[in-house]
């Protein structure tokens, strides 16, 4: 971003504009990834430690297809398909047999799945970092009110907003969304209304994974790819989910953007402490509002 003026006041305004712009675009990545994690937790009570690797899997699936076709849209579609498929297979094969067990079993098995996915990426693609070029169409910049913004980050904000809105509309306006919101509270009752809750579980696990995978492929042109990229972001994603309130979709949106913006401002004004800001926020929320900003005693809410 180019700073147009040089006064102290202007630097402050520039800092605010830059902090918001970078923070919202990265916050959207956090929201997209955390939305899947909180949805899976809200519906199934499963804390999926492999969720970060689904984000990485999406980035790598997109990377491979982008390498073959050179088309970013194809790369995004590949990420969605790969994320949904891996998530759905995970739910059916290793999560479903453990629903009646204590949560520790699910933690252990998803942690194992995370390690396996990282190793698979290293074996198939290689352990080194990979660059992912910004698509030509999105590689320029846009000038607004004297400020210059990178087109790709603007694209991230718009695409993230559309995807989050689509997920919200799906959950609140569609019959299937109604089934899912009801099943969060009472699976037996939903089953006795004739709906297949197991199918809903598989679908939601796949959908949550697909959202993480989209986030992975969207962030790749900014930061590149590396096998542990999922393990790196998952900590921040857990912070978002805890701050927003476990299982709260609204909480994830607010907390994701809040943490993205807070970290971005931190990098501008207190770079030595920027990494710690999300965790300070989390500690404050845990101390003063343990259920999170929008959590209702751990129950999924809109």
């Amino acid at each position: 971003m180019v700073l147009p003026h040089n006064t102290l006041l202007q630097i402050s305004v520039d800092g605010i504009v830059q902090g918001l712009y970078s923070g919202i675009s990265f916050g959207m990545i956090l929201v997209l990834t955390a939305a899947g994690l909180t949805l899976i937790f809200g519906l199934m009570g499963v804390v999926n430690f492999a969720h970060g690797e689904l984000y990485a899997a999406g980035a790598y699936a997109g990377f491979v297809l982008f390498g073959v076709t050179g088309n970013f849209a194809v790369a995004v579609v590949a990420a969605v398909i790969a994320g949904f498929a891996i998530g759905a297979i995970m739910e059916v094969s290793i999560i479903r047999p453990l629903y009646d067990r204590e949560p520790l079993y699910q933690l252990a098995v998803t942690f194992g799945a995370a390690i396996i996915l990282i190793e698979l990426i290293e074996v198939i693609i290689g352990p080194q970092s990979q660059p992912f070029p910004i698509p030509d169409l999105l590689s320029g910049s846009i000038a607004v009110a004297g400020y210059t913004f990178g087109t790709y980050r603007i694209f991230l904000i718009v695409a993230g907003g559309i995807l989050v809105t689509a997920l919200w509309l799906f959950l609140t306006k569609s019959k299937y969304g109604l089934i899912i919101r009801a099943a969060i509270f009472d699976t037996e009752m939903v089953e006795s209304m004739g709906y297949d809750v197991n199918r809903a579980y598989t679908f939601i696990f796949g959908l949550g994974a697909a959202y993480a995978a989209i986030a992975g492929v969207l962030v790749a042109p900014l930061f590149g790819l590396f096998p542990e990229m999922g393990a790196e972001i998952i900590i921040l994603i857990f912070v978002v989910v805890v701050v927003g309130g476990l299982g709260s979709f609204k909480g994830v949106i607010v907390a994701g953007l809040l943490i993205g913006i807070a970290q971005s401002f931190g990098q501008i004004y207190v770079p030595w402490a920027a990494e710690a800001i999300p965790f300070v926020l989390m500690v404050a929320v845990i101390l003063y509002r343990p259920q999170g900003l929008f959590g209702v005693e751990g129950v999924f809410t809109e």
Binding site: A182, E191, G194
Partner: protein
């Protein structure tokens, strides 16, 4: 003619606890059958076994002559068996309208039917399930059962915990429904069963211990087995 529902000698367990001991009962099409018994004798477990939520380990359950013993709850529901559960099980974050939309699996029963039976629900259509009183939740639970267009409704303790005036409203609604539905009604109140049921099974310690089609005639028998108030 075979009964609509037949439960034949089922044994059901919760973990190691043996709850139902060879329980058998039948419900014919168009009948309202009462299942009376004290707390904890296995009435709700009988319903849960029929619904597939706690499947029996022995015995057989047939519906329209087909075995449903090993079917999943959603498949049993699709066969035409609906449930109005004991504690209402309203989805608390969904509105009244959303609760009803979810329950309406087919277009056969018009949506407005729910409001015809319970006009108050229309006023509360935008309220969430969690905001309703106990009586309003019971109306909603029964309305969900109606909109489900089931061939058989299993209704569990519909008057439990309700104020006497609300009990009258619920019984009135059930009387209206019974002319068009087949119902297996679990109750502790002899008065409610007396008002609604064509035939009554009495349950004790996981077994059917008596059956009567005339509760007035057999009231001594019922008192002997149930030791419940008939007030």
């Amino acid at each position: 003619m075979s009964p609509l529902l037949s439960v034949e000698g089922i044994d059901t367990y919760y973990g190691d606890s043996h709850i139902l001991h060879g329980t058998s009962l039948e419900v014919a099409e168009g009948e309202v059958v009462g299942l009376l018994g004290r707390n904890g004798v296995g009435k709700s477990t009988t319903l849960r076994s029929i619904l597939g939520h706690t499947p029996p380990e022995r015995g057989e359950i047939t519906f329209r002559g087909d075995s449903i013993t090993d079917l999943k709850p959603n498949d049993i529901s699709k066969r035409g068996i609906g449930w109005v559960p004991e504690d209402r099980r309203i989805f608390p974050a969904l509105t009244v309208e959303e609760n009803l939309k979810l329950a309406r699996r087919t277009d056969t029963v018009p949506f407005e039917t729910a409001y015809d039976y319970f006009p108050k629900l229309e006023e509360l259509s935008s309220s969430t399930g969690g905001q309703l009183s106990g009586g309003e939740q019971q109306m909603l639970a029964i309305a969900r059962g109606i909109l489900g267009d089931f061939d058989l409704l299993l209704i569990d303790e519909p008057t439990e915990g309700l104020a006497p005036m609300i009990v009258d409203d619920v019984v009135d609604a059930l009387e209206e429904i019974q002319s068009e539905a087949t119902i297996l009604l679990v109750e502790q109140s002899v008065d409610v069963v007396n008002a609604l049921a064509d035939r009554i099974y009495i349950m004790d310690k996981g077994r059917i211990v008596a059956e009567t089609d005339d509760i007035e005639r057999d009231s001594e028998l019922i008192d002997q087995h149930l030791k419940v108030s008939t007030e």
